[in-house]
């Protein structure tokens, strides 16, 4: 569909604008895994309110925009969901960043760590889809 890429671009511009706002006004890097990770492992205790409010906005605005009528098409296989959730949680905290932190905020400042991390998770992601979809047929 030709409209898909346009929505992707518009949404991407919104994501980048949010990150730019957070950087220039608050002096913070907008990384989803770091912001919520600091809330749950205690490392972000000194600015927990800012983190909590960010997460609140991140949940509430899509709830209002979609009025709950949207579909993630996530699998219903609980074992796959749990494994994937654990991998995403461990991996992003170990690497100190995810798609937003390393991808959006890192690449845009030409950070070597951001570029290497993005190359690694894109490669692993493509390999994972190839293995689990085309070789094993699980997803």
């Amino acid at each position: 569909m030709p409209a898909d890429w346009l929505w992707g671009l518009v949404g991407g511009l919104m994501i980048g604008s949010a990150a730019a706002l957070f950087l220039l006004v608050s002096g913070r890097i907008m990384g989803a895994s770091g912001l919520i990770g600091g809330l749950v492992d205690g490392s972000g205790r000194q600015n927990w309110a800012e983190r909590a409010v960010f997460v609140l906005g991140l949940i509430a605005v899509p709830a209002v925009v979609t009025a709950g009528n949207a579909e993630t098409h996530l699998t219903s296989n609980a074992a796959i969901i749990i494994c994937a959730g654990l991998l995403v949680g461990f991996g992003t905290r170990l690497a100190n960043g995810c798609t937003s932190g390393h991808g959006v905020c890192g690449i845009s400042r030409l950070s070597l760590r951001g570029i290497v991390a993005t190359a690694c998770y894109l490669f692993a992601g493509a390999l994972s889809v190839y293995l689990f979809r085309h070789m094993l047929g699980w997803i």
Binding site: D4, W5, G8, G11, G12, L13, M14, I15, S17, A18, A19, L21, L23, L24, V25, S26, G27, R28, I36, G37, D41, S43, R51, V53, F54, V55, G57, L58, P62, V65, T66, G68, A70, T72, H73, L74, S76, I81, I82, A84, G85, L86, V88, G89, L94, A95, S100, V104, C105, S108, S111, R113, G114, A117, C120, L122, F123, G125, S128, V129
Partner: protein, 145 residues
């Protein structure tokens, strides 16, 4: 004011994730499926997100403080380590398996059903448990030395 900006940034981020298709795991897995029926949408999302952020870094250059007075982030470290590579590889494996990364996992909580909630809880559990695991690991290494 800081809290208001955080709310605004979180909200705009969430709306952008939904509009761009990042909360739809089929689109994400389609983007990662380079040897199958490849969906290029996410290239536009990442490209679109990098444009305002590259401008923002340019504006931040040479300044010490943000508008609200807090210090701007330090220059990024050029040091690559095994944690960065291993962590990103584990994350990528989970991302491909499910089609969700942390931002969209949070943004889709209101409409993701029990599946989305289970993913979120698993992700949070891993994030919360990592420091403890790390401590156990270093202790074991110390003992073995």
């Amino acid at each position: 004011m800081r809290l208001f900006i955080a709310l605004l940034a979180g909200g705009l981020f969430g709306a952008g994730l939904y509009i761009s298709g990042m909360t739809d795991t089929r689109k994400v897995q389609g983007w990662l499926d380079i040897l199958g029926d490849w969906d290029p949408t996410l290239a536009f999302v990442l490209g679109g997100a990098i444009i305002p952020m590259a401008l923002a870094w340019r504006l931040a250059k040479g300044r010490q403080h943000s508008v609200l007075g807090s210090p701007l982030p330090a220059p990024s470290s050029p040091i690559l380590d095994g944690k960065l590579v291993l962590g990103s590889a584990l994350f990528g494996a989970g991302w491909g398996l499910s089609g969700l990364c942390p931002g969209p996992a949070i943004a889709s909580l209101s409409f993701g059903g029990w599946q989305g909630l289970l993913f979120f809880v698993s992700m949070i559990a891993a994030m919360a448990g990592l420091p403890t695991l790390r401590k156990l690991w270093t202790r074991r290494q110390e003992v073995s030395i």
